[in-house]
């Protein structure tokens, strides 16, 4: 039997059973569309983060004290407890030519109060560089003066929400607050930019790093955030950072360096894995579609026993009958795939029109993966019905059957 003839034969079956065909088509289309659309969400999230990172405009390097053991490196030497990262270390790092702005950070939580209002808040001690690397600005007042980098000034900049809680709509700049044991003058209020890298900037108190050192009575830095100068090589900069630290830490590079690019890469990895996972969940609906095909095909085979018997009587072999029924399911699945993909792309397009902020987009592999899964499910689940059809005994099938 020629392929074109088989397709025509299958098609005539479909148009004779429009409702049944339509429902099966719908089931396959929904399965394919759900795989494509669900993975679009994952891929969209990945692209979203990608875009957020690149919109930062600057390339950051973050240095943490202590070696991250999982990263590898030499095993710790005997009696060598991890050394603190100090302000002096940060000063030394600042002198690396490829490093631009730098923000050493001491962090902790403490009580902040004004008159009778008080609450716990996250305190970050840093310098002017903090505003540069985090691309923060103030909506009222000023950022830290140059002297805040070196002196333990009693000044602070408040996050927008914190300011609101302590001062309501009153002016905060120039007023005094109590941060821990110490009275400090508010010199600025951060512009509200919401979260940045998981830290809620609007509930933050920023104080000079020296002040924080005294407040928390610890010389150890929480981390140092640096901006890489434009055009500078990231790997070279990392090597220079290790070198500087080794010179200052008796030959030990007991720090961990995280770059924005490596962070982006791990986000990418996580989101790609997530996208695969939700794609697999979507594929379950294809399985359901396959089972539906099997059920309905079994019913159809038993209804068409006389027809199958006749086909055999006029010369169709077992294999031809099997092929005819498998082909019928596969044609249906193919049509369902086309419909599902068309629907999914239509939906993605629509959502993109409605929410242009979120870059919804199917990953490149979504369509081939969904199609392959649908075809495989179709083949597996129509195998049994096709085998049944091939096994129909023509004598029994046509015995006494009136048209």
């Amino acid at each position: 039997m020629r392929l074109a003839d088989q397709l025509r034969f299958n098609w005539q079956v479909f148009s004779g059973n429009a409702l049944r065909t339509g429902l099966l088509l719908l089931a396959v289309a929904i399965g394919v569309a759900s795989v494509v659309m669900l993975t679009s969400v994952g891929e969209g999230a990945r692209r979203y983060i990608d875009r957020e990172f690149s919109s930062l405009g600057n390339r950051l390097i973050v240095v943490f004290p202590g070696r991250n053991e999982t990263v590898g490196g030499r095993p710790p030497l005997f009696g060598n407890s991890p050394r603190d990262l100090t302000l002096d270390d940060a000063d030394a790092l600042a002198r690396i030519p490829s490093i631009g702005a730098i923000a050493p950070i001491i962090a902790g939580t403490t009580i902040i109060s004004r008159d009778n209002r008080s609450r716990e808040a996250m305190v970050m001690g840093s310098g002017r560089g903090f505003f540069a690397v985090r691309q923060m600005t103030v909506s009222q007042g000023q950022i830290f003066p140059e002297r805040a980098n070196t002196d333990a000034l009693s000044i602070c900049v408040l996050g927008a929400e914190l300011k609101h809680e302590l001062f309501g709509n009153n002016r905060a700049v120039g007023e005094w607050v109590r941060v821990g044991e110490r009275r400090m003058r508010v010199t600025g209020v951060l512009a509200d930019t919401g979260e940045s890298f998981g830290i809620d900037m609007s509930n933050l108190v920023l104080i000079p790093v020296k002040t924080a050192e005294q407040l928390f009575n610890s010389p150890g830095l929480f981390r140092v955030i640096m901006e890489l100068k434009e055009g500078a090589d990231e790997n070279l900069a990392k090597q220079r950072i290790y070198q500087v630290i080794r010179e200052r830490h008796d030959g030990e590079d007991d720090i961990t360096i995280v770059t924005q690019d490596s962070m982006l890469e791990s986000f990418n990895n996580i989101l790609t894995a997530l996208t695969l996972a939700i794609g697999a969940i979507g594929a379950i609906s294809l399985l359901v579609a396959g089972i539906l095909i099997m059920n309905i095909s079994l019913i159809s085979v038993s209804q068409r026993r006389a027809e199958i018997g006749l086909l055999k009587a006029i010369g169709a072999s077992r294999n031809q009958v099997r092929q005819l029924f498998l082909g019928e399911s596969m044609l249906l699945v193919c049509l369902g795939i086309v419909a599902g993909i068309a629907f999914a792309y239509g939906a993605v397009f629509l959502v993109r029109q409605l929410y242009p902020v979120f870059p919804l987009m199917p990953p490149w592999w979504a369509v081939p993966a969904a199609a392959a899964t649908a075809l495989a499910a179709g083949l597996v689940f129509s195998w049994l019905p096709a085998k049944r059809a091939a096994g129909v005994d023509p004598v029994l099938a046509m015995r006494g059957v009136l048209q």
């Binding site: 039997m1 005539q12 055999k312 006029i314 031809q320 046509m398 048209q403």
Partner: protein, 227 residues
């Protein structure tokens, strides 16, 4: 051309064996016109299905043109059936969603013939049964006699050498039945081997060779001069 030897077919009916065919021997020559008669349940249809390679005997041998059919695999039997045997059933067995042309064309489609060869052959046989002007009609739009003529066209479109008809007039009124018999006899006069199973004594008497079956056995086998 057809040689049956010691053919047996048994069905189990409620634990009891039922002999549909019993040690049946028969030879049919090319071009013969054979009628098979006998009471209901005597094994006429079973014999016809054996001849048409639709059924396999429990024991015995069946040769077509010297080919031992019981040694063939299913695919080979299907091909032999497709190329040599045309079936006509009491219940027509046309496919309702296909029109007359498509129904007749089906054996050639299964055989992988080209569209062009198909059109030629189908129009020729539809002309032969007098239904060329109905080729686009679906079975639902045709009368019983027309349906059976479409079925005959389908049975002969592959130019088989043997035509097997199981009660071909059983569902038809007298005049349509006569038409069908005429068509079949014309085909026989052009050389096709014709085996007709029938209840109808008048129809049975028209054949040159009249076989009578009872309980799975041939009890009478008469040859008469044509005419």
């Amino acid at each position: 051309m057809i040689q049956l030897r010691g053919l047996n077919k048994t069905y189990q009916m409620g634990g009891q064996p039922l002999h549909a065919l019993r040690d049946l021997d028969m030879d049919i020559q090319t071009g013969e016109y054979v009628s098979v008669m006998g009471p209901s349940g005597s094994g006429k249809s079973t014999l016809l299905n054996m001849l048409g390679l639709l059924d396999r005997p429990d024991s015995g041998s069946y040769h077509i043109n010297g080919i031992a059919t019981e040694q063939l695999v299913e695919e080979q039997r299907a091909a032999l059936r497709r190329d040599n045997i045309g079936f006509i059933f009491q219940a027509f067995h046309l496919i309702g969603r296909l029109n007359a042309f498509e129904n007749v064309e089906l054996p050639m489609v299964l055989a992988g013939e080209t569209t062009r060869a198909r059109r030629e052959a189908v129009e020729h046989v539809l002309q032969l049964v007098g239904l060329l002007d109905r080729k686009h009609h679906r079975p639902g739009q045709l009368s019983g006699g027309q349906l059976q003529r479409v079925a005959i066209a389908r049975a002969i479109v592959m130019k088989p050498r043997i035509l097997l008809a199981d009660e071909p007039t059983g569902n038809l009124d007298q005049s349509s039945g006569r038409d069908i018999v005429n068509v079949l006899e014309n085909l026989n006069s052009e050389g096709i081997t014709l085996v007709v199973v029938t209840h109808d004594g008048n129809l049975g008497q028209r054949a040159q060779r009249r076989v009578r079956m009872v309980d799975g056995q041939i009890v009478e086998d008469e040859r008469h001069a044509p005419g």
